[in-house]
């Protein structure tokens, strides 16, 4: 067992609503020094009646400054409690957890495509930043799907810092009217490696697109979790091949994932 995960009491430095119901929090934690793009943390609530920690993907990390940035959408008690947090408040974190995106798979690739849908976009920002360390900006393109202008775009300026940004929206208010796949086609984008995170229908479309084009796609999955560390077997996904842990083609999303080769998982 690798000792790369820790438990830490992390202090909130900043917390802002960056789009309708979408929040971005900066936390001071030594966990940031251990993080890789695409990993996640479990965040404890302050409530005695909501006892499970919440899995939240890591958007960005500053190793030298011990800063972790989380971006999430409010959907229930835990995410609302995080949204209400003021600077100085402390959250229990467990992490970094999961495998993260295999960054080295982009080595020698010239057309790196990052495909994000809605609240799936944030972890791709940390990935894009990391990829930019080894690739020129014109080799990296992020394709992000949003609902539309009314609910707000988020993180677009940050993504633009590290490469090209292409946008699609459900209502056509910005970028391509349609899905991220429509945006890829409309802009004639090429891919020799894909990294993706977003809602299940989008990931299925990405899997299909990648198969049609003979490109490997790494997709990040989510599922209800209890422990987050691989003990409870609450979060599993059916896999094509037998994994080393379950031996029943039911890999743990929290541990063998959350990032999987799209070909490998039945979604």
């Amino acid at each position: 067992m690798e000792n790369s995960m820790i438990r830490d009491e992390a202090e909130v430095l900043t917390n802002k609503e960056i789009a309708d119901g979408v929040w971005r929090m900066e936390l001071k934690t030594k966990l940031a020094a251990l993080a890789k793009p695409g990993q996640f943390v479990m965040v404890g609530t302050h409530s005695d009646s909501h006892l499970l920690m919440r899995p939240i993907s890591i958007s960005e990390f500053e190793k030298d400054d011990n800063i972790l940035r989380l971006v999430w959408r409010t959907v229930g008690y835990g995410t609302n409690e995080m949204a209400a947090a003021r600077p100085g408040e402390v959250f229990s974190l467990l992490g970094p957890l999961g495998n993260g995106f295999p960054v080295q798979d982009a080595d020698n690739k010239k057309h790196i495509l990052l495909i994000g849908g809605g609240i799936g976009a944030p972890p791709l920002l940390g990935l894009m930043k990391t990829l930019r360390e080894t690739h020129p900006a014109d080799e990296i393109t992020a394709v992000l799907g949003y609902r539309g202008k009314a609910t707000g775009l988020f993180l677009t300026e940050e993504f633009e810092k590290y490469g090209k940004l292409v946008i699609s929206s459900d209502d056509g208010s910005v970028g391509t009217h349609g899905t991220v796949i429509d945006a890829i086609r409309e802009n004639g984008l090429k891919a020799d490696i894909i990294y993706s995170c977003g809602p299940m229908p989008m990931l299925s479309a990405v899997k299909k697109y990648a198969a049609e084009n003979g490109v490997r796609a790494w997709i990040s999955l989510e599922e209800r979790m209890a422990c987050g560390v691989g003990a409870c077997l609450g979060c599993v996904v059916k896999t094509k091949h037998e994994d080393h842990h379950s031996h029943v083609n039911n890999a743990r999303i929290c541990t063998e994932g959350p990032v999987f080769d799209a070909e490998e998982v039945e979604i």
Binding site: L51, A226, A231, L233, G234, V236, V248
Partner: protein
């Protein structure tokens, strides 16, 4: 100050262990918890062949607790022995292997396979999982069936046998008695309570299995009552569990009649929960002048 307890001839350095299914085999949580400090590691249920478990979602949060319907996914006894038991060889703690099966034969296969495994100190027989359709709870909700399976297991088991009881019965005392009559060396309770949760916006069940097992502090008073009733019905030792979060909770179960206790769902809330319970029990003993933890067992 003595925190040692003895169950069926096996000595525990303290009465605190994990509840099966919430801690894997300790491999993952060993990063946060020194397994050497635990009275025992109770492993997740293992069968004679790999089980895929239920579809997802398998877990849901509920007030002060959670529901699960994992369906006893496990890699089968061969992988378990090679990987999990081998891992536990390095630790100075008791190992209790939780055994599951769809039929009497499947239970016996696992018990037989483990008979000569020196690292196994005790067996806990899961006849109370509410989330598998055949076997499991079918053996744990009728006294005659529980008596039969206990007797059959005892005939071939080389380690002491703990029967893990379901709370989803009319009389826990009758079930405890059936296990004792079948020859069980100890009983553990409670397993989870069968429950249901509905997502009213999606008009769907929260769990793919529709029903699941409820655990966590929400069920604690039910568990305390059942531990009390069971321990008064039998002479064999009782291991108490159900929503234990703190040392105070653990002590409550022991006063109700438990010789040892297990922390379950709360491990997910705080991966160091068991260590805090162990330290807290020692603090309580100091503060209240208890020299031997055995003094408080069933003291109410």
């Amino acid at each position: 100050m003595n925190t040692e307890v003895k169950i069926a001839g096996v000595t525990f350095k303290n009465p605190v262990m994990d509840a099966s299914g919430t801690f894997g085999s300790g491999i993952e949580y060993s990063v946060f918890t020194d397994l050497n400090r635990l009275g025992a590691v109770v492993t997740k249920g293992v069968a004679d062949h790999p089980w895929p478990g239920n579809p997802t979602p398998r877990v849901a949060e509920t007030p002060s607790g959670m529901m699960n319907a994992i369906g006893l996914q496990n890699p089968g006894i061969d992988v378990f022995v090679e990987r999990d038991l081998k891992f536990l060889e390095d630790y100075d703690t008791n190992v209790i292997v939780n055994v599951c099966g769809h039929s009497k034969e499947e239970y016996l296969n696992v018990v037989e396979r483990l008979a000569d495994e020196k690292r196994v100190d005790m067996l806990e027989i899961n006849v109370s999982c509410p989330n598998v359709k055949e076997g499991g709870i079918a053996f744990g909700t009728r006294p005659e069936a529980l008596y039969d399976i206990t007797k059959a297991i005892k005939e071939i088991a080389k380690q002491p046998v703990i029967m893990k009881l379901s709370p989803n019965v009319t009389s826990i005392a009758d079930m405890a008695k059936a296990a004792e009559d079948g020859g069980a060396d100890a009983i553990s309770l409670i397993n989870t309570l069968t429950a249901m949760k509905i997502d009213i916006y999606k008009r769907k069940f929260a769990l793919a299995n529709k029903t699941g097992g409820l655990s966590g502090p929400a069920i604690r008073p039910v568990a305390v009552r059942m531990v009390y009733e069971a321990s008064h019905a039998v002479k064999i030792p009782v291991i108490g569990m159900g929503g234990i979060a703190t040392a105070e909770d653990a002590i409550e179960f022991m006063m109700a009649g438990a010789s040892a206790v297990a922390v379950g769902m709360y491990n997910f809330h705080d991966p160091t929960a068991m260590i805090k319970v162990i330290d807290g029990i020692e603090d309580f003993m100091k503060k209240t002048g208890v020299n031997d933890i055995k003094e408080i067992i069933g003291c109410v």
